[in-house]
Symmetry: C2
Subunit: 183 residues, 2 copies
DNA sequence: GGACCTCCATACGGTGGCGTATGGTTCCGA
DNA sequence: TCGGAACCATACGCCACCGTATGGAGGTCC
């Protein structure tokens, strides 16, 4: 039978958010998609906003897990390369990051998006410092590199970027570790 | 008297689009903001979609004008620097570019956004080739640099980027013209 | 000064989504 | 087996927006 949990709704909401933006996180369409009705939803959540919140928490947990796994890689250069491999190998994740910034008019979303993106940049910055770059240079490079990551997600939406992941990784690595560096 | 032209509506629509996204391009709220009523709107436009189209054409014309003015700068390096100065000195313009990519689920918007962004990148690429970079390298650098531009617009939305325009221009120039180059 | 065109306001019906009310079904423990 | 809790469907009122219908005010031309 099709009994649903709150987490089922949250996951569906996150998917809808990724695919169609905040407006697509609508109770009735979501219910239809889950083969349920609003009655089910309003038992698990007090209102739509709570659903959005749950979806956001779901997303934040997921990204934190990835950061944590990366943190366990001891060598900073290998950590960085792995980070970029994961980042560019998963366009869906980049699309969600982009989407949440797009929907940052909603303060609820803005708060989470800001926190997550700041954490990511701090993480990358610290890694760069580990490789020997001084803090200000590291900050500049991370800004350029992470902005490129987001911008490429944007250009992907327009089907402008056709480059394969390998090329993108090399571009990003060059931005982060500086010119003519290999490894 | 408050007689309105179709262009007044289009400009207001573009402003609303920049500020609140596609959903904010709504006839009744816009009418209220213009101190008019729907009766006025539906005299100038057949429907909402036509208004969005007009706003997009307005935007495309504006960006084309800028490209045209840049095209009249003979020296490619100076052209590039001027381009970046204008780009980073005008966060509102960057915000609109970002917004339109955000709303690219709408095919109407996607078409215009794709065309404009491709034109911009081609223009930058050609300029880089003029400075002596071979085509593939130029393409890579433009991809990284323009993506950074968009990504910085994204991070601005989250109030994460505090860097002053000068710094951003230097970062972007470094990406485009390559390492340790001044001028 | 009357016919006419331009531009606009108001009122209306239609649609889609939110949240509530109410009742029904399934399951579980005593 | 019975009662209550967990879970869900349906029906309803509400609001915001779209698009239409209708009529009215202000100019213009003869």
């Amino acid at each position: 039978m099709g009994r649903l949990s709150a987490d089922d709704w949250a996951k569906a909401a996150l998917t809808a958010l990724a695919e169609g933006g905040l407006a697509a996180v609508a109770v009735e369409p979501l219910a239809a998609r889950l083969g349920a009705s609003k009655g089910s939803f309003y038992w698990h959540f007090p209102n739509r906003q709570a659903l959005v919140q749950a979806a956001l928490e779901h997303w934040e947990r997921d990204t934190d897990k990835i950061t944590a796994r990366l943190g366990r890689i001891p060598d900073p250069r290998e950590r960085l390369r792995t980070l970029l491999e994961w980042a560019f190998a998963d366009p869906a994740a980049a699309a969600i990051s982009f989407r949440l910034i797009s929907e940052a008019d909603d303060p609820q979303i803005a708060e989470v998006a800001k926190r997550v993106n700041e954490r990511r940049m701090s993480f990358m910055c610290a890694t760069l410092v580990e490789t020997g770059r001084p803090e200000p240079e590291a900050r500049r490079r991370v800004l350029a590199g992470y902005a490129s990551y987001l911008g490429i997600a944007a250009l992907r939406r327009l089907a402008i970027v056709h480059e394969d992941p390998m090329t993108l990784i090399d571009i990003a690595l060059a931005e982060l570790l500086g010119p003519p560096v290999n490894g």
